[in-house]
Amino acid sequence: MIWLIARREVVDHLRSARFLALCALAVVLLPLSAYVNAAGWQARRAFHDALRQAQLARLTAADSSREVAADGARAGGGPRWGWRSGEVSTDEALRAIRPPAPLSVLAAGDDASLPAYWQFGSEGVAPGPPLTSSAAAGSDFVFVVQVVLGLLAILLGADAVCGEAESGVLRAVLANPVPRAHVVAGKYVGGMITLLVPLAIGAPLALLVLRARGVPVADADTWPRALAFVAVAVLYLSAMLALAIAVSTRTHRARTALVVVLVGWVLLVLVVPRAAELVAAGVRPVEPEELARRERAAAAAAIEADRVDALASVWRRVAGTDEIPSGPFPPALKREYNAARAPVEEEMFRRKRAAFAALDDARERAERGRRALVAAVSRASPAATFALAAAELAGTGDRTRERWLAQVRAHQRALEGAAFDRVYGVELYDARQPGRLRVTWGPDPSDPADLPPAYADLPRFAYVAESAGEALRAALPDVAWLLACNAGLLAAAVVGFVRYEVR
């Protein structure tokens, strides 16, 4: 019985002008958006490749890390690694470069707005420029499904019951011994089959375009994601269809139902995701990046002042005077001074890293809280839930951002231990001078212990992307929520129809 009604619904829908118009639009837009987004992905990929090449060139140059570390000293400013508060490194060798996600062509997510790389340095990690391109990131597969097919879904369901009640055909249908739940189920299944038509035509066309443009969409890691992506799209569309059918069972006028579902569509697709951003910005504000940078600089400067005082005291204790020697630094005195200041430096680095970590963690917590609130409020809308799940599957969602940042921070800590948290050469401070006169001696090229490590001896950063299995597991809560939306809305439609008075 359900199948009989579903089949008739499909025949009716396929002949309707609204279906033909929106199906044609979706079938054109899906491959077109794939083409445009593939161009954007290629541009980001080219930028990524250029960054990688520059990095490799830097890494393979002999002893280049020592040049970088020492050139500041040669210029009289001291080594670049160690204590240089407020300075951001630009060393191309020390960058965390992440390739753009291939499936960002389907769900752009954060892929284009994330930085092209993270820069490692003594003062912590800093974001590079965003991986923006000319691609119309807003017009991806998610957009077409959310807007065009979402609109088709609600239009197919809006007059499912009240339209037939208005025309009178519902009397003819319900005069037969068919359970009302079966009628609703038949309309739901029929609507879903109809909605699969533009997907079945448009999605393969889009994939063909992507393959032709060289986007790896068919490899072992990508195709399960793409398949799950289509499944989540179907769940979203079915939820919108069930919503429209539920609305249709609450009125006897097709026009009323149409207005209600169109308002609902605007709210769910356009308003809720933006309102979620507004709510989160109000409830969980995150301080601007510039303010965070200033806080870091202020914390570093305060510790720097303590360090200067401490090192001046150490020098006075070791040398028995505040006088700073001129000319070559006596080796014996250097060894004694370095040994005496080692615990001071260690303590100062510890304080500095702790202060930075506290600031970074607080900011990251605030950012994570804001994003979590955006996601939680957005999930009021099946459209936004679909976008969140799609981004997780495509590797362009919040988890990717957090995963990358976590790897970057871990690598930064490794570099701090291996290279950054040491002072190369000698720094002396004259306690008698206002502002503490600073005198430095660069690393001694004849003393290997005085030189910074070579790049070859430093840990290398390699981004470990989330596997398809992890991405699928990450999308499961959203999939479960979409299933629950379907079940709830379908139950509401059935209850509404069982109580429906046929006039």
């Binding site: 003819a172 005069a175 037969n176 011994p177 008075e501």
Partner: protein
């Protein structure tokens, strides 16, 4: 058999009763005409038998099955011909017949792929495979009758079924009904047509303002002036409200 027992319906709390404790029975092999003005409650009565609306009180029964308790089982035993037959406009007559026949639980294969039923109601063969949107009201009505007949249900509910039919087709339809009655079917036909009632009905029931005001038995029908009685019943009102049910000792209400 169709039976209404204390059937009451109020569509909204502030609305007047659409049906007011209606007691009515249509026996097997009986053709009962339900007469009444617009808004008398005739269609609401049919709606209660088809679970289109739930009664506020009382019950509608089809062959002993309470409709509100088991609407699907009840509807398995009755078919409807509405006043304005509406079918799927984009489907042909044959496709509509096939669809509704299967929806009614009928066999997948209709006799002659539906042609027999369509011929039986007088639909021209050239129209069998035309989309229903091209049909006149009379043709749609014939299609509706064909759909109901194809159901082969033991009870028939008809709501102004001859509306839109030309006189010859209406006469053919009444002859068809006579045959179905002879087969033992219980037929409840709502109509304004007192002349046909007098000619074809086994009994005629008159409703006004949701209440049953008279039942005229077969013998009485042949002898009384049904039109005059009907007009009298419709006009019978005074400042204290209608004096119904009208005492008609010769036309007792069914037990």
């Amino acid at each position: 058999m169709l039976r209404a027992a204390g059937l009451t319906k109020r569509y909204a709390p502030s609305a007047p009763l659409a049906l007011d404790a209606l007691d009515l029975e249509v026996r097997d092999g009986e053709l009962l005409f339900l007469l009444g003005a617009n808004g008398a409650g005739k269609t609401t009565t049919l709606d209660c038998f088809l679970d289109f609306t739930r009664p506020t009180a009382g019950s509608a029964e089809v062959d002993g099955i309470v409709v509100a308790a088991d609407p699907v089982a009840a509807k398995r035993r009755c078919a409807l011909v509405p006043e304005n037959v509406v079918a799927y406009a984009t489907l042909t007559a044959r496709q509509n017949l096939r669809f509704f026949s299967r929806l009614g639980g009928g066999d997948r294969s209709l006799a002659g792929d539906g042609a027999d039923a369509l011929e039986r109601v007088g639909l021209p063969a050239a129209a069998f495979d035309r989309p229903v949107r091209e049909f006149s009201k009379g043709m749609r009505q014939k299609l509706g009758i064909a759909v109901a007949i194809a159901r082969d249900a033991p009870n028939l509910l008809l709501d102004e079924p001859t509306s839109g039919l030309d006189p010859a087709a209406a006469a053919d339809f009444m002859a068809l009904l006579a045959g179905l009655r002879a087969d033992g079917r219980a037929i409840l036909m709502c109509t304004h047509d007192v002349f046909r009632a007098r000619e074809y009905a086994d009994r005629a029931a008159v409703m006004r303002a949701g209440r049953l005001v008279a039942i005229v038995e077969r013998d009485e029908l042949r002898h009384c002036d049904l039109e005059a009685l009907y007009l009298e019943l419709m006009a019978d009102d005074d400042e204290h409200g209608p004096r119904f049910p009208r005492p008609m000792s010769r036309v007792p209400l069914s037990p």
